[in-house]
Symmetry: C2
Amino acid sequence: MATHYRGSEREQRALNLFIALTRSSDSLQKAALRKAPLPEGTTLSQFGILEALLHLGPLPQTVVAQKVLKTKGNISVVVSHLEDRGLVQRRRSKADRRQLVIELTSAGRELIAGYFPHMATGFAESAQVLSAEEQATLTTLCKKLGVGADSL
Amino acid sequence: MATHYRGSEREQRALNLFIALTRSSDSLQKAALRKAPLPEGTTLSQFGILEALLHLGPLPQTVVAQKVLKTKGNISVVVSHLEDRGLVQRRRSKADRRQLVIELTSAGRELIAGYFPHMATGFAESAQVLSAEEQATLTTLCKKLGVGADSL
DNA sequence: TTCTGATTGTTCAACGTTGAACTATTGCAT
DNA sequence: ATGCAATAGTTCAACGTTGAACAATCAGAA
């Protein structure tokens, strides 16, 4: 589990932190998916985009890319797949004709709105090994770390 | 940053935790890579395998798969790429003739041993926004969460 | 207005990733 | 010894992912 690298204390601490972060988010994700399998034919990437649209409303692709931490090229591809499946639709923005605003179709809304609560329950159950206070501490420290790392 | 899902307190807490975990590990990784770009032609996946071999010695592919949290099919592909690049070599195990033991070539060892310390420094610098105690707390909570989630 | 640089999205090559079907080998139970 | 379930690895289709090259549009300066 821990790194086998023989470096300074400081480096080993940082490496162990990174490994623990990566594995725990991976474990949490997998546990939630075990409890709430994705709808047939829906991938994790597609889910991420559908979820953003459900909770934030119609968005231009660039904004979607920022939300799900992927590149615009990637979003373009995955949105096309969602469009092929009839879950999403592209609309040219009148304000800025470069933008394509993505919005859920009724089928897409039904799919994601019907599924998401199961996933939320899955996360809640999986996170229960930590107390509410521990979860809050963990979240706070992660945010501090993330913001700090981004500004380097 | 936080979820926009309107569910129970418990669910929102778990979702926010997951988002924070994901983003912080992503930020930490990207910050480290900014400070220490991977060697030309080396991908993150290839790096992961080289690193495992450097610090754990020659390993059969199944073990590598467990270490880097990927499937055996994936390891097979990436190891082939590493073999093409002359960084790694497959050796049929005598004890169990099903196993292929992967080991670093001298070129591979030189590459990863020369690069890894830079990455370690990058992680250490990026993690410095947290005190040593905070890092330890974060690591401990992550492990507890990970172990708990795995056993569901 | 006109030029110029920045922004939005598409496309493509190369690689990564998974899960399933397949082969070879092993170990065990009978 | 024989048969059989489990294990190690390969391969493939389908999809995801990135970064770079490209076209269209916008916004601001001269």
